[in-house]
């Protein structure tokens, strides 16, 4: 069987959804509604003589986005969550259909009615393009990118359906994410000259296809590693890796409910790709906008990768139960500990990998910048970022082992105390006229402010208060959480072996 047959034609999940979602009584109303709405828009366009203008064309795009990005995404999330909630997904898991094919079936089949409605809009969009709203190559780029973004959202929806502990709320959750994603990323280039955050959206493709050059120079000529690239190409360059890694995570969850989102090597690949994209975008973020020196690119990279590291390490941190299973399995197989790259091993290896990638990327960005380069404060800021990722991973592992299901909540409370509160207290202190040195010192405790303070401390030879606090607190936390992790691992290992003998 060819891959195409396995993925679509002979995919039982696709066939199931084609049957259940395209019954006559269910499909007539939405399809007829879509066609009538498009016909109405076209008629108005012809009547007002604006059929060949971008204004009418944009309305078609809004409609397509509503169908695929909102309705389609919500449907996929609902279908997957229902299959998981009812337990029927287990039957698929033990069938000979491979997990990737099952996932593809849910992604394509779950929104099959929406894809049909989208297809119904295409003749009208083509007509609008034919009379001059957009060039035909431009239209093709928009269609391809719309499909890519829809697949990205649908895959994220399937992933959310598979991981959500409350399947009934999953559709609302994913719509919230999609809405927030679009609102933030799309609004930035529309209200400011910063274009880089919009690259994972369809906006750069639209800018290229609709020739927005005079309106938004940043979007019309987006850059990557300082090179001007077509917006369409740049959009796909950002969307496809995220689509791939979202698919990988969802495929693992489709294979087994108890699987982690990524394997340890897999998460390092994902992190490296994020680093690559961030490195390429860093120049555009700074150069095109506030006129800040590109030497600050390493700081942007550090912030971005520290945030990504903190987020991704949770995806590969084994729970207390799995850690114990790893210990018992290793003993049974005559090994001292679970293989370090295995899912049941503690998270220190990916954490170390994240730190190396962060430092290397930050160093590379400084070299590429060539202004100020890999100077002391930039090195300091990057090290603080790497230490933050490291101590967070230690804390996460230790708290999970010590407090089990409450670990994440306790860690969140701790982080609120050491990451958020200092920034709020320092900020409030400054607002109420507190001494600047004291306020900065308090704020330096948090890496949210601390990384910036350390980087800033080198500018113009000025000594910035709080930079020392940022460095020392991250070193201190790293030592403390390393000790805590080692102790928690030792106790968890002893407890597991004791349990085995009971």
């Amino acid at each position: 069987m060819s891959l195409f047959q396995e993925a679509i034609l002979d995919n039982p999940i696709v066939v199931k959804h084609v049957r259940s979602r395209l019954r006559r009584d269910q499909v007539v109303a939405p399809v007829l509604g879509t066609v009538l709405l498009c016909a109405l828009l076209t008629s108005i366009g012809m009547w007002r003589g604006v059929l060949g203008t971008p204004t009418l064309f944009y309305w078609f795009l809004v409609g397509q986005a509503a169908i695929l990005f909102l309705s389609g995404t919500s449907q996929v999330a609902t279908v997957v969550a229902h299959a998981k909630d009812s337990g029927i997904i287990d039957f698929h898991r033990i069938s000979p259909v491979r997990p990737w094919a099952l996932l593809t079936g849910f992604i394509l089949g779950g929104a099959v009615r929406e894809w049909l409605c989208y297809a119904c809009t295409l003749p009208f969009v083509l007509l609008s393009a034919a009379v001059g709203a957009v060039s035909l190559p431009g239209l093709l780029m928009i269609v391809v990118d719309t499909i890519a973004v829809a697949l990205l959202y649908h895959t994220m929806a399937a992933l959310m359906g598979l991981v959500s502990p409350k399947p009934r709320n999953v559709a609302g959750g994913i719509l919230g994410i999609v809405f927030a994603f679009h609102s933030i990323l799309l609004s930035i280039p529309l209200v400011s000259p910063i274009s880089a955050p919009a690259v994972p959206t369809i906006l750069p493709t639209l800018a290229q296809a609709m020739e927005w050059g005079p309106m938004m120079p940043g979007l019309a000529r987006p850059t990557f590693f300082g090179m001007t690239l077509p917006g369409f190409f740049l959009s796909l360059l950002h969307q496809l890796p995220f689509l791939f890694f979202a698919f990988v995570a969802a495929e693992r969850k489709m294979r087994s409910d108890r699987a982690y989102l990524y394997s340890k090597p897999g998460v390092l690949w994902f992190y490296a790709v994020i680093a690559f994209l961030l490195l390429g975008d860093a120049a555009a973020i700074l150069e095109r906008t506030w006129g800040l020196p590109f030497a600050l690119a390493p700081v942007v990279v550090t912030y971005g990768l520290a945030a990504a590291g903190v987020f991704l390490i949770t995806a590969v941190t084994p729970s207390a139960g799995d850690f114990a299973n790893g210990v018992l399995r290793a003993r049974k197989q005559g090994m001292a500990a679970a293989p370090a790259w295995g899912d049941l091993a503690p998270n220190w290896l990916p954490a170390a990998g994240f730190c190396i990638i962060l430092l290397a990327t930050s160093s590379l960005s400084a070299t590429l910048a060539g202004q100020g380069g890999w100077s002391g404060p930039i090195i300091g800021a990057s090290f603080v970022g790497a230490l933050v990722v490291y101590y967070f991973s230690c804390a996460r592992q230790a708290f999970d082992l010590m407090f089990r299901k409450n670990g994440a909540s306790y860690l969140a409370m701790l982080l609120l105390a050491v990451w958020i509160l200092p920034v709020m207290l320092g900020g409030m202190g400054m607002a109420f006229g507190l001494d600047r040195v004291f306020a900065f010192t308090v704020m330096g405790l948090s890496p949210i402010f601390g990384i910036g303070l350390v980087a800033w401390s080198g500018q113009g030879g000025e000594v910035i208060p709080g930079a020392g606090m940022a460095v020392s607190s991250s070193v201190l936390f790293s030592i403390a959480f390393t000790q805590l992790r080692l102790q928690a691992e030792r106790r968890a290992r002893d407890a597991a072996l004791k349990m085995r003998d009971v």
Binding site: D10, P12, V15, K16, R19, S20, R21, S86, G87, I88, D90, F91, H92, R93, I94, S95, P96, V97, R98, S256, D257, R258, S319, A320, G321, A324, N325, L328, R329, K332, Q333, R404, M499, V502
Partner: protein
């Protein structure tokens, strides 16, 4: 066949299955008995690859589950205690979905589906949506779905729960049919008399451990000390009574009108010896069988008291 070596399953701090060893051969119907929380469902879910064991080896039809998961589970049909179905599909479409999943060629799917619908007596509901089925009918539909790919190994978790008497008779007949086809069946149930009707062997689990396992008569004999034999005699009743009275393995004899029962302290070999002796002495024996109703007693004696 099913072979399990040193299986252990843990959930967080709870050990659900502890160092379980099990071998179920072809043509064997193995009843898994135990109170709630004994580890029966965890064992079954580990056997079909839905739960990753902490350690242990599982072979399904000779294929290692860990090394060749897709091939191994391809030999298995599984039915859970509560049947999840796609409620927006008809019965025929639902079975077709799984026929397609298991690679049954398109041209064979229709007749196969019809055959299994008939087997579970749902032919008339062929085009009815599954949402409209009763729980018992959904169980039967699920049974059809489980048997549809004709798996060599069949794992049924409480298949009779929710079934009406008609459904239970169907289930019993299907079990006997599967036995005649040399399939391997692992079945769990709280309805012990029902299990004793078709199981060839049983295992009693408690707190994750397999406490007792073996052929039904052997388990009964080993746990209860002696088992109950039922004999129907056509003629030679006096000689029959004499032989039994002389045999130290035989307990008190009861019964009238040619139908007798007595306690017997011996396994299959001893039982066959006794039968041969009776026949050799000119006693005309119409039936000679070990009563299997002793599973409840066995279960209670082993210590599991939480049958629900």
């Amino acid at each position: 066949m099913i072979e399990v070596r040193d299986l252990r399953v843990d959930y967080d701090s709870v050990c659900a299955v502890r160092d379980l060893n099990l071998a179920i051969g072809r043509g064997e119907i193995f009843g898994l008995i135990g109170p709630n929380g004994a580890g029966k469902t965890s064992t079954m879910r580990a056997l079909i690859g839905l739960v990753e064991p902490t350690y242990g080896d599982i072979f399904l039809n000779g294929v290692d589950l860990e090394d060749k998961r897709e091939e191994a589970v391809g030999h298995v049909g599984f039915m859970p205690d509560f049947p999840p179905v796609y409620e927006d599909l008809t019965c025929r479409e639902f079975l077709d979905l799984f026929a397609c999943s298991y690679g049954i060629p398109k041209e064979h799917r229709g007749p196969t589906i019809e055959r299994y619908l008939a087997m579970v007596d749902l032919t008339e509901k062929r085009d009815a949506f599954t949402a409209g089925l009763s729980r018992g009918m959904k169980q039967r539909l699920m049974l059809a779905k489980t048997l549809l790919p004709e798996p060599a190994v069949i794992i049924l978790d409480e298949p009779a729960s929710g079934m009406d008497p008609h459904g239970r008779i169907l289930l019993k007949n299907i079990m006997l049919h599967l036995k005649s086809q040399d399939r391997t069946v692992l079945i769990s149930s709280h309805i012990l008399p029902e299990l004793s009707e078709f199981c060839t062997s049983v295992g009693i689990m408690e707190r994750g451990r397999m406490v007792v396992t073996g052929r039904v008569d052997e388990v009964t004999a080993s746990v209860l000390g002696r088992s109950e034999m039922a004999v129907e005699i056509v003629s030679g009743e006096e000689r029959f009574a004499e032989i039994l009275a002389a045999d130290p393995r035989v307990g008190a004899l009861s019964g009238v009108g040619g139908i007798y029962s007595f306690a017997f302290d011996g396994g299959r070999e001893e039982a066959s010896e006794l039968l041969a002796e009776l026949v050799g002495a000119g006693v005309r024996v119409a039936s000679f069988a070990r009563k299997k109703e002793g599973l409840e007693e066995v279960f209670l004696k082993v210590g599991a008291k939480e049958v629900s």
